[in-house]
Protein backbone atom coordinates (compact mmCIF):
# COMPACT_ATOMS: atom_id res chain seq x y z
CA UNK A 1 0.00 0.00 0.00
CA UNK A 2 2.77 2.43 0.89
CA UNK A 3 4.57 1.74 -2.40
CA UNK A 4 1.36 2.22 -4.32
CA UNK A 5 0.70 5.51 -2.55
CA UNK A 6 4.23 6.70 -3.35
CA UNK A 7 3.82 5.77 -7.00
CA UNK A 8 0.53 7.63 -7.26
CA UNK A 9 2.00 10.72 -5.61
CA UNK A 10 5.11 10.69 -7.78
CA UNK A 11 3.00 10.87 -10.93
CA UNK A 12 0.63 13.55 -9.71
CA UNK A 13 1.15 16.78 -11.58
CA UNK A 14 1.24 20.12 -9.78
CA UNK A 15 -1.71 22.45 -9.55
CA UNK A 16 -1.12 25.63 -11.55
CA UNK A 17 -3.20 28.73 -10.90
CA UNK A 18 -3.12 31.85 -13.03
CA UNK A 19 -4.38 35.30 -12.30
CA UNK A 20 -7.46 36.33 -14.25
CA UNK A 21 -5.47 38.61 -16.54
CA UNK A 22 -2.89 36.09 -17.65
CA UNK A 23 -5.46 33.38 -18.17
CA UNK A 24 -7.24 35.52 -20.77
CA UNK A 25 -4.20 35.50 -23.01
CA UNK A 26 -4.00 31.75 -23.42
CA UNK A 27 -3.98 30.52 -26.99
CA UNK A 28 -4.98 26.92 -27.62
CA UNK A 29 -5.01 26.33 -23.88
CA UNK A 30 -1.39 27.42 -23.49
CA UNK A 31 0.49 30.53 -22.48
CA UNK A 32 2.96 31.37 -25.23
CA UNK A 33 6.13 33.13 -24.11
CA UNK A 34 9.52 33.73 -25.58
CA UNK A 35 11.61 32.40 -22.70
CA UNK A 36 10.69 30.23 -19.76
CA UNK A 37 13.25 30.79 -17.02
CA UNK A 38 13.05 28.45 -14.02
CA UNK A 39 15.20 29.32 -11.02
CA UNK A 40 15.68 26.26 -8.85
CA UNK A 41 18.63 27.13 -6.63
CA UNK A 42 18.58 29.69 -3.80
CA UNK A 43 21.31 31.70 -5.54
CA UNK A 44 19.42 31.93 -8.82
CA UNK A 45 16.13 32.78 -7.06
CA UNK A 46 17.76 35.64 -5.18
CA UNK A 47 19.58 36.88 -8.25
CA UNK A 48 16.49 36.93 -10.46
CA UNK A 49 14.45 38.51 -7.70
CA UNK A 50 16.86 41.42 -7.53
CA UNK A 51 17.35 41.64 -11.31
CA UNK A 52 13.68 41.68 -12.23
CA UNK A 53 11.70 43.11 -9.34
CA UNK A 54 8.19 42.11 -10.36
CA UNK A 55 5.60 42.61 -7.65
CA UNK A 56 2.56 40.97 -9.12
CA UNK A 57 2.58 37.26 -9.67
CA UNK A 58 1.07 35.92 -12.86
CA UNK A 59 0.45 32.56 -11.26
CA UNK A 60 1.61 29.88 -8.86
CA UNK A 61 2.74 26.27 -9.18
CA UNK A 62 1.87 24.15 -6.22
CA UNK A 63 2.47 20.48 -5.56
CA UNK A 64 -0.49 18.72 -3.90
CA UNK A 65 1.56 17.63 -0.91
CA UNK A 66 2.90 21.09 -0.10
CA UNK A 67 1.24 22.87 2.82
CA UNK A 68 -0.51 26.09 2.01
CA UNK A 69 -0.64 29.06 4.37
CA UNK A 70 -3.88 30.69 5.56
CA UNK A 71 -4.06 32.76 2.37
CA UNK A 72 -1.67 34.21 -0.16
CA UNK A 73 -1.34 37.86 0.70
CA UNK A 74 1.80 38.85 -1.12
CA UNK A 75 4.33 36.54 -2.70
CA UNK A 76 7.33 36.02 -0.48
CA UNK A 77 10.53 33.96 -0.61
CA UNK A 78 9.30 32.11 2.47
CA UNK A 79 6.21 30.72 0.76
CA UNK A 80 6.03 27.04 -0.02
CA UNK A 81 4.69 27.57 -3.51
CA UNK A 82 6.46 28.53 -6.71
CA UNK A 83 5.45 31.96 -8.00
CA UNK A 84 5.54 32.90 -11.66
CA UNK A 85 6.08 36.38 -13.07
CA UNK A 86 5.71 37.73 -16.55
CA UNK A 87 8.36 40.23 -17.59
CA UNK A 88 8.90 42.18 -20.75
CA UNK A 89 11.48 40.26 -22.74
CA UNK A 90 13.57 43.31 -23.52
CA UNK A 91 13.25 45.54 -20.46
CA UNK A 92 12.64 43.08 -17.65
CA UNK A 93 9.81 45.24 -16.34
CA UNK A 94 6.57 43.60 -15.25
CA UNK A 95 4.44 43.03 -18.30
CA UNK A 96 1.17 43.87 -16.61
CA UNK A 97 0.47 47.46 -15.51
CA UNK A 98 -1.42 47.63 -12.24
CA UNK A 99 -4.77 48.76 -13.67
CA UNK A 100 -6.45 48.83 -10.27
CA UNK A 101 -3.90 51.32 -8.97
CA UNK A 102 -4.39 53.48 -12.03
CA UNK A 103 -8.11 53.45 -11.53
CA UNK A 104 -7.92 54.26 -7.85
CA UNK A 105 -5.02 56.68 -8.19
CA UNK A 106 -3.37 54.85 -5.33
CA UNK A 107 0.26 53.74 -5.13
CA UNK A 108 -0.51 50.78 -2.92
CA UNK A 109 -0.11 47.30 -4.30
CA UNK A 110 -3.24 45.21 -4.67
CA UNK A 111 -2.98 42.52 -2.01
CA UNK A 112 -4.83 39.83 -3.89
CA UNK A 113 -2.88 37.87 -6.48
CA UNK A 114 -5.96 36.84 -8.40
CA UNK A 115 -7.84 40.12 -8.87
CA UNK A 116 -6.00 42.05 -11.57
CA UNK A 117 -7.56 43.65 -14.60
CA UNK A 118 -5.83 44.49 -17.82
CA UNK A 119 -6.73 45.85 -21.16
CA UNK A 120 -7.08 43.43 -24.05
CA UNK A 121 -4.18 45.00 -25.94
CA UNK A 122 -1.79 44.32 -23.10
CA UNK A 123 -2.90 40.70 -23.00
CA UNK A 124 -1.90 40.32 -26.62
CA UNK A 125 1.65 41.28 -25.75
CA UNK A 126 2.25 38.10 -23.76
CA UNK A 127 4.18 36.66 -26.66
CA UNK A 128 6.89 39.32 -26.17
CA UNK A 129 7.22 38.29 -22.58
CA UNK A 130 9.29 35.86 -20.65
CA UNK A 131 7.96 33.83 -17.76
CA UNK A 132 10.09 33.59 -14.64
CA UNK A 133 9.33 30.73 -12.29
CA UNK A 134 10.84 30.81 -8.82
CA UNK A 135 11.05 27.24 -7.62
CA UNK A 136 12.07 28.29 -4.13
CA UNK A 137 10.79 25.08 -2.55
CA UNK A 138 13.21 22.14 -2.46
CA UNK A 139 11.71 19.54 -4.75
CA UNK A 140 12.06 15.80 -4.24
CA UNK A 141 13.89 14.31 -7.25
CA UNK A 142 11.06 11.88 -7.96
CA UNK A 143 8.61 14.80 -8.35
CA UNK A 144 10.70 16.63 -10.91
CA UNK A 145 9.35 14.92 -14.04
CA UNK A 146 5.69 15.43 -13.18
CA UNK A 147 6.40 19.04 -12.12
CA UNK A 148 8.04 19.88 -15.44
CA UNK A 149 5.43 18.04 -17.45
CA UNK A 150 2.64 19.86 -15.64
CA UNK A 151 4.22 23.25 -16.33
CA UNK A 152 5.09 22.56 -19.96
CA UNK A 153 1.55 21.34 -20.60
CA UNK A 154 0.28 24.89 -20.09
CA UNK A 155 3.31 26.99 -21.06
CA UNK A 156 4.83 26.98 -24.51
CA UNK A 157 8.19 28.71 -24.74
CA UNK A 158 10.60 29.12 -27.60
CA UNK A 159 13.40 28.30 -25.19
CA UNK A 160 13.58 26.98 -21.63
CA UNK A 161 16.38 28.06 -19.30
CA UNK A 162 16.81 26.33 -15.95
CA UNK A 163 19.18 27.78 -13.36
CA UNK A 164 20.28 25.04 -10.99
CA UNK A 165 23.09 23.95 -8.76
CA UNK A 166 25.25 20.87 -8.35
CA UNK A 167 26.74 19.97 -4.96
CA UNK A 168 30.53 19.89 -5.02
CA UNK A 169 30.62 16.21 -3.99
CA UNK A 170 28.71 15.29 -7.16
CA UNK A 171 31.03 17.25 -9.42
CA UNK A 172 33.51 15.29 -11.56
CA UNK A 173 35.79 17.52 -13.53
CA UNK A 174 39.25 19.02 -13.83
CA UNK A 175 38.59 22.15 -11.75
CA UNK A 176 38.40 22.72 -8.00
CA UNK A 177 35.05 24.20 -6.91
CA UNK A 178 36.50 25.28 -3.56
CA UNK A 179 39.06 27.50 -5.33
CA UNK A 180 36.98 29.22 -7.99
CA UNK A 181 33.45 29.90 -9.12
CA UNK A 182 32.33 27.18 -11.51
CA UNK A 183 29.31 27.34 -13.79
CA UNK A 184 28.61 25.01 -16.67
CA UNK A 185 25.94 24.59 -19.26
CA UNK A 186 23.98 21.59 -20.55
CA UNK A 187 22.16 22.32 -23.81
CA UNK A 188 19.88 20.28 -25.96
CA UNK A 189 20.80 19.88 -29.62
CA UNK A 190 17.89 22.13 -30.62
CA UNK A 191 19.04 24.90 -28.26
CA UNK A 192 22.50 24.88 -29.85
CA UNK A 193 20.94 25.30 -33.28
CA UNK A 194 18.55 28.02 -32.07
CA UNK A 195 21.16 30.27 -30.49
CA UNK A 196 22.16 33.07 -32.81
CA UNK A 197 25.64 33.55 -31.41
CA UNK A 198 27.70 31.10 -29.47
CA UNK A 199 28.24 31.81 -25.80
CA UNK A 200 31.54 31.20 -24.06
CA UNK A 201 30.19 29.14 -21.17
CA UNK A 202 31.95 25.79 -20.76
CA UNK A 203 29.93 22.58 -21.05
CA UNK A 204 29.48 20.33 -18.04
CA UNK A 205 32.52 18.02 -17.87
CA UNK A 206 31.96 14.41 -18.89
CA UNK A 207 31.26 12.27 -15.84
CA UNK A 208 29.18 14.84 -13.97
CA UNK A 209 25.42 14.37 -13.97
CA UNK A 210 22.70 16.83 -13.14
CA UNK A 211 19.49 15.65 -11.49
CA UNK A 212 16.19 17.13 -10.38
CA UNK A 213 14.25 19.80 -12.24
CA UNK A 214 17.14 20.79 -14.51
CA UNK A 215 17.61 17.21 -15.68
CA UNK A 216 13.86 16.71 -16.09
CA UNK A 217 13.62 19.84 -18.26
CA UNK A 218 16.60 18.82 -20.41
CA UNK A 219 15.24 15.30 -20.77
CA UNK A 220 11.76 16.51 -21.71
CA UNK A 221 13.13 18.92 -24.32
CA UNK A 222 15.86 16.71 -25.80
CA UNK A 223 13.59 13.80 -26.69
CA UNK A 224 11.10 16.22 -28.25
CA UNK A 225 13.86 18.15 -30.08
CA UNK A 226 13.02 21.37 -28.27
CA UNK A 227 15.40 24.05 -27.07
CA UNK A 228 16.43 23.96 -23.41
CA UNK A 229 19.52 25.01 -21.51
CA UNK A 230 20.52 24.23 -17.95
CA UNK A 231 23.00 26.62 -16.33
CA UNK A 232 24.58 24.77 -13.43
CA UNK A 233 26.57 26.27 -10.59
CA UNK A 234 28.82 24.00 -8.53
CA UNK A 235 28.15 24.73 -4.86
CA UNK A 236 31.07 24.30 -2.53
CA UNK A 237 29.87 26.43 0.39
CA UNK A 238 26.57 27.16 2.17
CA UNK A 239 26.23 30.61 0.61
CA UNK A 240 27.77 31.62 -2.72
CA UNK A 241 30.23 34.49 -2.74
CA UNK A 242 30.06 37.59 -4.90
CA UNK A 243 32.33 36.12 -7.56
CA UNK A 244 30.03 33.14 -8.00
CA UNK A 245 26.88 35.25 -8.13
CA UNK A 246 28.46 37.69 -10.59
CA UNK A 247 29.50 34.80 -12.84
CA UNK A 248 25.97 33.34 -12.62
CA UNK A 249 24.49 36.70 -13.57
CA UNK A 250 26.85 37.18 -16.51
CA UNK A 251 26.35 33.66 -17.83
CA UNK A 252 22.58 33.98 -17.51
CA UNK A 253 22.75 37.20 -19.51
CA UNK A 254 24.84 35.46 -22.19
CA UNK A 255 22.44 32.54 -22.53
CA UNK A 256 19.42 34.83 -22.72
CA UNK A 257 21.13 37.04 -25.31
CA UNK A 258 21.97 34.10 -27.56
CA UNK A 259 18.24 33.37 -27.64
CA UNK A 260 17.19 36.96 -28.29
CA UNK A 261 16.23 38.13 -24.80
CA UNK A 262 17.70 41.18 -23.14
CA UNK A 263 15.93 41.58 -19.83
CA UNK A 264 19.07 40.92 -17.82
CA UNK A 265 21.95 43.17 -18.74
CA UNK A 266 24.20 46.02 -17.85
CA UNK A 267 24.89 47.56 -14.46
CA UNK A 268 21.80 45.99 -12.95
CA UNK A 269 23.57 42.62 -13.03
CA UNK A 270 26.36 43.61 -10.66
CA UNK A 271 23.95 45.39 -8.34
CA UNK A 272 21.67 42.35 -8.29
CA UNK A 273 24.63 40.07 -7.55
CA UNK A 274 25.69 42.29 -4.63
CA UNK A 275 22.17 42.41 -3.19
CA UNK A 276 21.79 38.65 -3.55
CA UNK A 277 25.15 38.01 -1.88
CA UNK A 278 24.21 40.24 1.04
CA UNK A 279 20.83 38.52 1.46
CA UNK A 280 22.23 35.02 1.27
CA UNK A 281 25.24 35.55 3.51
CA UNK A 282 23.09 37.03 6.28
CA UNK A 283 20.65 34.13 5.96
CA UNK A 284 23.53 31.64 6.14
CA UNK A 285 24.99 33.42 9.19
CA UNK A 286 21.64 33.40 10.97
CA UNK A 287 21.14 29.71 10.29
CA UNK A 288 24.40 28.92 12.02
CA UNK A 289 23.75 31.12 15.05
CA UNK A 290 21.13 28.88 16.56
CA UNK A 291 21.72 25.17 16.97
Amino acid sequence: MAASNNTNLAHQQPAIYWDSVTSTSFVGGKLHVKQLVIATSPASCQLLRHCCPAQQAAGVVMLPEQAQGPGIILPSPADKVCFMYLVNDQTGQPSQPNALNQQNGSSSIDKSVFQLTLSASAAAKQRDCSLLVFCQVPLQPDRAISWIRGLLTVVEAQHVLVLASLPAFSYRGPDDPSEEALHYVVQTAAAKQQSKDKHQIPSLPSGSLITGLAAAAIQHAEVRRQGATALIGVEARPAPDLASLTQLAQYTEQVLKTHGSAFMQGDSLLKAAKHAEKTMSSAATNSFMYV
Partner: protein, 264 residues
Amino acid sequence: MHFFPAGNAPCEFAGAKLLLPGVTSANVGQLAIDLIISTLHLPCVGQLETSCLLPCAGIGAFDHLSQRVSLSLELFECPVAQGPPVFVLQQRAPAARGCQRKYAEELARWISEAVFAEVVLIASLDANLRQDRQIAGQQINYVSSGSAAAVCQELGWEQLEGGLMAALGQQQSLLPPWTLIEAFQHRSITYTCVLAFAAEGNNAPDAMRVADAVNQYLHLLIQQQPQPNGKHHASKGVMSLPPPWLAPLSWKYVYGPASSRGFY
Protein backbone atom coordinates in the same frame (compact mmCIF):
# COMPACT_ATOMS: atom_id res chain seq x y z
CA MET B 1 7.25 4.16 -21.51
CA HIS B 2 7.77 5.85 -24.82
CA PHE B 3 10.63 5.42 -27.33
CA PHE B 4 11.93 8.49 -29.16
CA PRO B 5 14.16 7.55 -32.12
CA ALA B 6 17.27 9.67 -32.61
CA GLY B 7 16.94 9.90 -36.36
CA ASN B 8 13.98 10.11 -38.70
CA ALA B 9 14.04 6.45 -39.71
CA PRO B 10 12.12 4.03 -37.45
CA CYS B 11 14.04 1.28 -35.65
CA GLU B 12 13.29 -2.35 -36.36
CA PHE B 13 13.42 -4.36 -33.16
CA ALA B 14 11.53 -7.47 -34.16
CA GLY B 15 13.73 -10.55 -33.81
CA ALA B 16 16.68 -8.63 -32.36
CA LYS B 17 18.33 -9.19 -29.00
CA LEU B 18 18.34 -6.61 -26.23
CA LEU B 19 21.18 -6.20 -23.77
CA LEU B 20 20.36 -4.21 -20.68
CA PRO B 21 21.73 -3.65 -17.17
CA GLY B 22 20.13 -4.18 -13.81
CA VAL B 23 20.89 -1.39 -11.37
CA THR B 24 22.33 -3.45 -8.54
CA SER B 25 25.05 -3.17 -5.94
CA ALA B 26 28.45 -2.31 -7.44
CA ASN B 27 26.72 -1.19 -10.68
CA VAL B 28 28.61 -3.82 -12.64
CA GLY B 29 25.90 -4.12 -15.30
CA GLN B 30 25.96 -0.42 -16.10
CA LEU B 31 29.76 -0.29 -16.13
CA ALA B 32 29.93 -3.28 -18.48
CA ILE B 33 27.43 -1.64 -20.83
CA ASP B 34 29.54 1.54 -20.80
CA LEU B 35 32.62 -0.50 -21.77
CA ILE B 36 30.81 -2.20 -24.64
CA ILE B 37 29.42 1.07 -26.01
CA SER B 38 32.75 2.85 -25.69
CA THR B 39 34.87 0.07 -27.20
CA LEU B 40 32.58 -0.61 -30.14
CA HIS B 41 31.67 3.08 -30.73
CA LEU B 42 28.00 2.18 -30.83
CA PRO B 43 25.67 4.83 -32.27
CA CYS B 44 22.75 6.03 -30.16
CA VAL B 45 19.48 5.19 -31.91
CA GLY B 46 17.09 6.75 -29.44
CA GLN B 47 15.97 7.44 -25.90
CA LEU B 48 13.22 5.98 -23.76
CA GLU B 49 11.12 8.21 -21.56
CA THR B 50 9.49 7.01 -18.39
CA SER B 51 8.39 8.75 -15.23
CA CYS B 52 9.49 5.73 -13.18
CA LEU B 53 13.19 6.64 -13.30
CA LEU B 54 14.79 9.63 -11.64
CA PRO B 55 15.82 12.21 -14.23
CA CYS B 56 19.48 12.75 -14.98
CA ALA B 57 21.45 14.42 -17.75
CA GLY B 58 25.08 14.85 -18.67
CA ILE B 59 27.27 15.55 -21.67
CA GLY B 60 29.78 13.54 -23.59
CA ALA B 61 29.71 10.17 -21.87
CA PHE B 62 31.68 8.64 -24.74
CA ASP B 63 34.48 9.81 -27.01
CA HIS B 64 32.46 9.23 -30.17
CA LEU B 65 29.43 11.08 -28.70
CA SER B 66 31.29 13.88 -26.97
CA GLN B 67 28.75 16.62 -27.70
CA ARG B 68 25.63 14.58 -27.13
CA VAL B 69 23.40 14.93 -24.09
CA SER B 70 23.14 11.64 -22.16
CA LEU B 71 19.83 10.89 -20.46
CA SER B 72 18.47 8.31 -18.01
CA LEU B 73 17.63 5.62 -20.56
CA GLU B 74 19.35 5.42 -23.96
CA LEU B 75 19.36 2.80 -26.69
CA PHE B 76 22.37 1.93 -28.84
CA GLU B 77 22.69 -0.43 -31.80
CA CYS B 78 25.43 -3.01 -32.23
CA PRO B 79 25.76 -4.89 -35.54
CA VAL B 80 26.86 -8.51 -35.19
CA ALA B 81 28.49 -10.90 -37.65
CA GLN B 82 25.35 -12.90 -38.29
CA GLY B 83 21.68 -12.25 -37.78
CA PRO B 84 19.78 -9.22 -36.54
CA PRO B 85 21.63 -6.56 -34.55
CA VAL B 86 21.90 -6.42 -30.80
CA PHE B 87 20.40 -3.36 -29.16
CA VAL B 88 22.10 -2.14 -26.01
CA LEU B 89 20.10 -0.22 -23.42
CA GLN B 90 22.00 1.91 -20.91
CA GLN B 91 20.25 2.98 -17.73
CA ARG B 92 21.95 5.77 -15.80
CA ALA B 93 19.41 6.51 -13.09
CA PRO B 94 17.71 4.33 -10.48
CA ALA B 95 13.98 3.91 -10.24
CA ALA B 96 12.06 6.55 -8.30
CA ARG B 97 10.84 5.69 -4.82
CA GLY B 98 8.12 3.04 -4.98
CA CYS B 99 8.45 2.63 -8.75
CA GLN B 100 10.71 -0.44 -9.12
CA ARG B 101 7.94 -2.82 -9.98
CA LYS B 102 6.12 -0.34 -12.20
CA TYR B 103 9.35 0.35 -14.09
CA ALA B 104 9.94 -3.37 -14.60
CA GLU B 105 6.39 -3.80 -15.90
CA GLU B 106 6.68 -0.83 -18.27
CA LEU B 107 10.00 -2.08 -19.60
CA ALA B 108 8.67 -5.62 -20.06
CA ARG B 109 5.64 -4.28 -21.89
CA TRP B 110 7.83 -2.22 -24.24
CA ILE B 111 10.09 -5.23 -24.89
CA SER B 112 7.07 -7.42 -25.57
CA GLU B 113 5.49 -4.90 -27.95
CA ALA B 114 8.79 -4.43 -29.79
CA VAL B 115 9.00 -8.23 -30.20
CA PHE B 116 12.61 -8.64 -29.14
CA ALA B 117 13.74 -12.25 -29.59
CA GLU B 118 15.74 -12.39 -26.35
CA VAL B 119 16.73 -10.17 -23.50
CA VAL B 120 20.18 -10.43 -21.92
CA LEU B 121 20.16 -8.82 -18.50
CA ILE B 122 23.47 -8.22 -16.75
CA ALA B 123 23.62 -7.51 -13.07
CA SER B 124 25.77 -8.02 -10.02
CA LEU B 125 25.17 -9.72 -6.71
CA ASP B 126 26.82 -8.75 -3.46
CA ALA B 127 29.99 -10.83 -3.01
CA ASN B 128 29.04 -11.45 0.62
CA LEU B 129 26.24 -13.72 -0.60
CA ARG B 130 28.69 -16.27 -1.96
CA GLN B 131 28.83 -19.68 -0.40
CA ASP B 132 32.17 -21.35 0.27
CA ARG B 133 32.41 -23.16 -3.03
CA GLN B 134 31.64 -19.99 -4.95
CA ILE B 135 34.51 -17.94 -3.53
CA ALA B 136 37.06 -19.38 -5.92
CA GLY B 137 36.73 -19.90 -9.64
CA GLN B 138 34.32 -18.53 -12.17
CA GLN B 139 32.29 -15.69 -10.66
CA ILE B 140 29.70 -15.63 -13.43
CA ASN B 141 26.34 -17.26 -12.77
CA TYR B 142 23.24 -17.26 -14.88
CA VAL B 143 19.49 -17.56 -14.73
CA SER B 144 17.77 -18.37 -17.98
CA SER B 145 14.23 -18.86 -19.14
CA GLY B 146 14.72 -21.21 -22.03
CA SER B 147 17.11 -22.86 -24.42
CA ALA B 148 20.01 -20.54 -23.60
CA ALA B 149 20.93 -22.71 -20.61
CA ALA B 150 22.96 -25.08 -22.81
CA VAL B 151 24.94 -22.19 -24.31
CA CYS B 152 25.63 -20.74 -20.88
CA GLN B 153 26.93 -24.06 -19.60
CA GLU B 154 29.19 -24.44 -22.63
CA LEU B 155 30.71 -21.08 -21.72
CA GLY B 156 31.53 -22.40 -18.27
CA TRP B 157 28.93 -20.41 -16.35
CA GLU B 158 27.15 -21.91 -13.40
CA GLN B 159 23.44 -21.74 -12.94
CA LEU B 160 22.52 -19.77 -9.84
CA GLU B 161 21.53 -22.21 -7.17
CA GLY B 162 17.82 -22.63 -6.70
CA GLY B 163 18.03 -22.07 -2.96
CA LEU B 164 19.99 -18.84 -3.27
CA MET B 165 17.74 -17.59 -6.04
CA ALA B 166 14.61 -18.28 -4.02
CA ALA B 167 16.08 -16.59 -0.95
CA LEU B 168 17.21 -13.50 -2.87
CA GLY B 169 14.01 -13.39 -4.84
CA GLN B 170 12.12 -13.22 -1.58
CA GLN B 171 14.39 -10.86 0.38
CA GLN B 172 15.00 -8.50 -2.52
CA SER B 173 11.75 -8.98 -4.40
CA LEU B 174 11.40 -5.23 -4.97
CA LEU B 175 14.94 -4.76 -6.26
CA PRO B 176 16.47 -5.48 -9.63
CA PRO B 177 17.24 -7.89 -11.17
CA TRP B 178 14.38 -9.81 -9.50
CA THR B 179 11.71 -7.26 -10.43
CA LEU B 180 12.81 -7.43 -14.05
CA ILE B 181 12.98 -11.24 -14.07
CA GLU B 182 9.49 -11.43 -12.60
CA ALA B 183 8.16 -9.00 -15.21
CA PHE B 184 9.83 -10.94 -18.04
CA GLN B 185 8.36 -14.21 -16.78
CA HIS B 186 4.92 -12.62 -16.53
CA ARG B 187 5.09 -11.62 -20.20
CA SER B 188 6.79 -14.84 -21.34
CA ILE B 189 9.83 -12.95 -22.59
CA THR B 190 12.86 -15.13 -23.32
CA TYR B 191 15.66 -13.89 -21.09
CA THR B 192 19.12 -14.75 -19.86
CA CYS B 193 20.34 -13.04 -16.73
CA VAL B 194 24.12 -12.89 -16.35
CA LEU B 195 25.03 -12.42 -12.71
CA ALA B 196 28.44 -11.59 -11.33
CA PHE B 197 29.41 -11.57 -7.69
CA ALA B 198 31.11 -8.27 -6.88
CA ALA B 199 31.97 -6.18 -3.86
CA GLU B 200 31.54 -2.41 -4.00
CA GLY B 201 34.72 -0.56 -4.82
CA ASN B 202 36.70 -0.18 -8.03
CA ASN B 203 34.46 -2.34 -10.15
CA ALA B 204 36.15 -1.77 -13.51
CA PRO B 205 37.76 -5.26 -13.41
CA ASP B 206 34.35 -6.80 -12.60
CA ALA B 207 32.82 -4.87 -15.49
CA MET B 208 35.50 -6.14 -17.85
CA ARG B 209 34.91 -9.71 -16.73
CA VAL B 210 31.16 -9.42 -17.34
CA ALA B 211 31.69 -7.63 -20.66
CA ASP B 212 34.00 -10.48 -21.73
CA ALA B 213 31.31 -13.01 -20.80
CA VAL B 214 28.61 -11.09 -22.68
CA ASN B 215 30.88 -10.79 -25.70
CA GLN B 216 31.35 -14.56 -25.78
CA TYR B 217 27.60 -15.10 -25.49
CA LEU B 218 26.47 -12.49 -28.01
CA HIS B 219 29.50 -12.42 -30.34
CA LEU B 220 29.72 -8.67 -30.30
CA LEU B 221 32.84 -8.53 -32.49
CA ILE B 222 34.99 -6.95 -29.84
CA GLN B 223 38.56 -7.15 -31.10
CA GLN B 224 41.68 -5.28 -30.24
CA GLN B 225 41.61 -1.95 -32.04
CA PRO B 226 44.42 -1.89 -34.63
CA GLN B 227 46.68 1.17 -34.34
CA PRO B 228 49.40 2.40 -36.69
CA ASN B 229 52.01 2.43 -33.96
CA GLY B 230 50.92 -0.95 -32.66
CA LYS B 231 49.84 0.42 -29.27
CA HIS B 232 46.36 0.06 -27.82
CA HIS B 233 44.56 3.38 -28.11
CA ALA B 234 42.90 5.01 -25.16
CA SER B 235 41.64 8.55 -24.76
CA LYS B 236 44.18 10.78 -23.13
CA GLY B 237 43.88 10.74 -19.38
CA VAL B 238 41.09 8.17 -19.30
CA MET B 239 41.61 5.05 -17.19
CA SER B 240 43.82 2.61 -19.05
CA LEU B 241 42.32 -0.87 -19.38
CA PRO B 242 43.74 -4.06 -20.89
CA PRO B 243 42.67 -4.67 -24.48
CA PRO B 244 40.27 -4.84 -26.06
CA TRP B 245 38.45 -2.54 -23.69
CA LEU B 246 38.39 1.23 -24.00
CA ALA B 247 37.22 3.13 -20.93
CA PRO B 248 34.58 5.75 -21.73
CA LEU B 249 35.32 9.45 -21.35
CA SER B 250 32.95 9.67 -18.39
CA TRP B 251 35.34 7.52 -16.31
CA LYS B 252 38.13 10.10 -16.59
CA TYR B 253 37.39 11.92 -13.31
CA VAL B 254 35.65 9.14 -11.41
CA TYR B 255 38.25 9.48 -8.65
CA GLY B 256 38.45 13.25 -8.93
CA PRO B 257 41.05 15.39 -10.68
CA ALA B 258 44.74 14.68 -10.40
CA SER B 259 46.46 16.13 -7.34
CA SER B 260 48.00 19.54 -7.75
CA ARG B 261 51.69 19.38 -8.54
CA GLY B 262 52.20 22.11 -5.94
CA PHE B 263 51.83 19.50 -3.23
CA TYR B 264 55.10 17.81 -4.24
